[in-house]
C-alpha cells in the first residue's frame, strides 16, 4: 500500500516536471493543444473520482461539463455582471454541483445503484443536450454562444490575464495538478476507504453506522463540481460553447479516457485524455468519420475484455507469469 502511494507520487511528480519543461520546447499552438487536452483530463479525473471510488458509472457526466460551460458563457458575456471571470467560475461550479445534488439526492436515497444509475444519468445527459438546443433564446440553440472572453481577474493584487497562450497553459496545468492531488488525498484517506467499503458491501457499511447514500451523494456532487469547473475553463479557452459539450458523445469519450487510463488512478484518466485526443486528431486527419466508429469499438472492447483499463494488462500479465511459475 505504501509502495503504491510512493509510485503514484513519483508518477505525479514526473508529470508535473514534464508539464513545467514542456513550454521550453513547444510553440504557442502546441501549448494550446495540450492545454485543452489537460482541461478534458481534469474532466476525466472528475468522473474517475466518482466512478473509480464508488464503482457506479455516470453516463451523463458531460451534462455537468456543459452546465459549467453555459453558466460561464452566460455570466462572462453579460456586461452588467462585474468580475465576470471569477463569478462565472464560481457559478459554473455551483450550478453543476446544484444539479448533481438534486438528481443525486433522488437516485441515491431512492436506492438507485449500478446499471439503473447509469441509465438514468444517460437520460439526464440527453435531456441537458436537448435543453441546450431548444432553449435558443438563452443558449443560442444549435450554434451555441460565441465570443466568450478569456479569463481575466485580479486576486489579492495579482492580475491574471489568460488571453495569451503561455499564461493560460500555466494556469490550467496548475489547476489540474492541484485538483488531481487533492482528489488523490481524499481518495486514499478515510473518505476513500469508506467509499471502497460501500462499494464492496453497502448494507454492511450502513449496518456499521455509515450513512452510505449521503456519502455517495457528496462524492457525486464534488465530482460534478469539478466537471463544471473543467467546462468553465474550456469555454473560455475555446471562446465558444455549444450543445455538444453536454452531449452523449462527450459523455462516452470521457468514459473511454478513464477506462483507458485506468479507473481509480485519477492520474491515468488525465493521461488517457491527452493520448486519446492526440490519436483522435491524427485519425480524424485521414477521415473525419472514422473516429466515432473507432471510439465505439474501443469502448466495447474495454467493457468486455479489459473492464479495469489498459493498465490492467500489465497486472494481468504479471498474474499470468506468477501462476505459471507456481505451476512449474
Amino acid at each position: 500500500m505504501i509502495a503504491r502511494d510512493r509510485n503514484w507520487l513519483l508518477i505525479f511528480a514526473t508529470c508535473v516536471a514534464l508539464a513545467i519543461i514542456y513550454p521550453f520546447f513547444a510553440g504557442g499552438y502546441q501549448l494550446t493543444v495540450i492545454r485543452d487536452a489537460l482541461i478534458f483530463g481534469l474532466f476525466a479525473a472528475s468522473l474517475d473520482f466518482f466512478w473509480g471510488r464508488t464503482g457506479i458509472l455516470c453516463f451523463g457526466h458531460a451534462a455537468f461539463f456543459g452546465i459549467g460551460g453555459y453558466i460561464m458563457a452566460l455570466v462572462t458575456l453579460n456586461d452588467a455582471i462585474p468580475f465576470g471571470s471569477l463569478l462565472g467560475i464560481m457559478g459554473a461550479v455551483a450550478g453543476a454541483a446544484f444539479v448533481a445534488a438534486i438528481i443525486g439526492y433522488f437516485l441515491f436515497f431512492g436506492g438507485i445503484r449500478g446499471s439503473y444509475f447509469t441509465i438514468v444519468t444517460l437520460a439526464m445527459g440527453v435531456i441537458c443536450q436537448q435543453a441546450a438546443v431548444s432553449w435558443s433564446s438563452v443558449t443560442g440553440g444549435d450554434s451555441g454562444l460565441i465570443g466568450i472572453p478569456p479569463i481575466e481577474f485580479d486576486l489579492g493584487g495579482l492580475h491574471v490575464d489568460l488571453s495569451q497562450d503561455l499564461p493560460s497553459y500555466i494556469f490550467v496545468s496548475a489547476i489540474v495538478a492541484m485538483t488531481v492531488l487533492a482528489l488523490w488525498l481524499i481518495s486514499r484517506g478515510r473518505w476513500g476507504t469508506v467509499l471502497t467499503a460501500i462499494q464492496d458491501n453497502e448494507i454492511r457499511a450502513a449496518a456499521l453506522g455509515h450513512n452510505a447514500p449521503l456519502r455517495l451523494l457528496v462524492t457525486f456532487v464534488l465530482s460534478a463540481a469539478i466537471a463544471g469547473l473543467a467546462g468553465a475553463l474550456y469555454v473560455c479557452m475555446a471562446g465558444l460553447v455549444a450543445p455538444d459539450l453536454s452531449g452523449l458523445l462527450l459523455s462516452t469519450e470521457v468514459i473511454v479516457w478513464v477506462a483507458v487510463g485506468g479507473r481509480g488512478t485519477l492520474l491515468g484518466p488525465v493521461l488517457g485524455a491527452i493520448f486519446i485526443q492526440r490519436a483522435q486528431q491524427t485519425i480524424s486527419s485521414f477521415n473525419p468519420s472514422l473516429w466515432p466508429l473507432l471510439l465505439g469499438c474501443v469502448f466495447v472492447i474495454i467493457v468486455f475484455v479489459l473492464p479495469d483499463g489498459i493498465l490492467s494488462i500489465y497486472a494481468r500479465l504479471k498474474g499470468l507469469f506468477k501462476g505459471r511459475r507456481r505451476a512449474q
Binding site: M1, R190, Q199, D200, R204, A206, L208, H210
Partner: protein, 234 residues
C-alpha cells in the same frame, strides 16, 4: 426493571399466508448472553431481523432501551448501539483487515477500543495487512465479529456465527464470546448445538415460528421434546 435492554413482546409476523413467527417473547437484560436455537426454517433469522428493526412485526412490539426501532434506516439502528453479524460473512473484500476495522470504528458514535486491541480480540493480530477477501472462512467470521465490536455496541446480534467453521474454530468462537460476556449483551442465533453447549446460557428454542422451550441450556438439552424436534421426530 431498568436493566432491560431489549424487550420483544408477543411478536408475530406474517408473510402473505405464512405465519412465520407467532407470539414470541424475549427479554435481553444488560450484559446478558442468550441463544436462540431451532431447526432450519424455525424462524430464527426472521426473529433476529425483527429484533434489529430491519423487519417490522405484524403484531406485537420490539423495544430497544424503551424505543421502537422498527423501520429505522440501518445506520441509525447501528448508532443506537445494535451491532449485527450477518449469517454470510460480509466483510469488505477489497480492504485490508485493518481497514475493515477502521471503517467499522469510523461508523461508531464513540469508538473506544483501538484497532490493535480489536485485532487481538478476534485473533487476527498477524493478518492486519491481508486483504479481507483473502482470509479463510472462519477468519472472515471473526473479522466480522471484530467489526461489530468496533462500534462499541450495547447489544451484539450474531446470526449463525459459526456457520461453516471447523469444530476447533467453533469452540474458539465460543470462548471469544465468553470473554466478551459482561461487556455488553449478546444474542446468538445458532443451530450448532456444540457451540450453544459451550456457551451454556439462557436459550430460546424455536420450532415452526413458535416458542418450544426456553431456559438454561442444560435444562433444554435434556428436554425430550427438543431432542425430538432436532432429530426430526416431530
Amino acid at each position: 426493571m431498568s436493566d432491560i435492554l431489549l424487550q420483544a413482546e408477543n411478536v408475530g409476523i406474517r408473510f402473505g399466508g405464512l405465519q412465520a413467527l407467532e407470539a414470541l417473547n424475549l427479554t435481553v437484560r444488560d450484559k446478558e448472553l442468550c441463544c436462540i436455537i431451532g431447526p432450519n426454517g424455525a424462524g430464527k433469522s426472521t426473529f433476529l431481523n425483527v429484533l434489529t428493526g430491519t423487519l417490522r412485526p405484524t403484531s406485537g412490539s420490539v423495544r430497544f432501551l424503551g424505543h421502537d426501532s422498527a423501520g429505522l434506516p440501518l445506520h441509525r439502528i447501528a448508532r443506537l448501539g445494535i451491532a449485527r453479524k450477518f449469517q454470510i460473512p460480509s466483510v469488505f473484500p477489497n480492504l485490508s483487515v485493518e481497514d475493515n476495522l477502521k471503517v467499522a470504528r469510523w461508523g461508531a458514535p464513540s469508538p473506544v477500543r483501538p484497532v490493535g486491541e480489536l485485532l487481538e480480540l478476534v485473533a487476527l493480530g498477524n493478518r492486519a495487512a491481508t486483504l479481507a477477501g483473502e482470509l479463510a472462512h472462519g477468519q472472515k467470521q471473526w473479522l466480522e465479529i471484530g467489526m461489530a465490536l468496533a462500534i462499541e455496541p450495547r447489544l451484539l446480534l450474531l446470526d449463525e456465527p459459526t456457520a461453516g467453521m471447523t469444530p476447533q474454530e467453533t469452540l474458539a468462537t465460543a470462548q471469544m464470546l465468553l470473554r466478551l460476556k459482561g461487556e455488553f449483551s449478546i444474542v446468538a442465533v445458532e443451530h450448532d448445538i456444540r457451540f450453544v453447549r459451550a456457551l451454556n446460557c439462557e436459550t430460546l428454542v424455536l420450532h415452526q415460528g413458535r416458542r418450544l422451550r426456553s431456559g438454561p441450556f442444560h435444562d433444554i438439552e435434556s428436554d425430550e421434546m427438543v431432542r425430538d424436534v432436532y432429530l426430526g421426530r416431530r
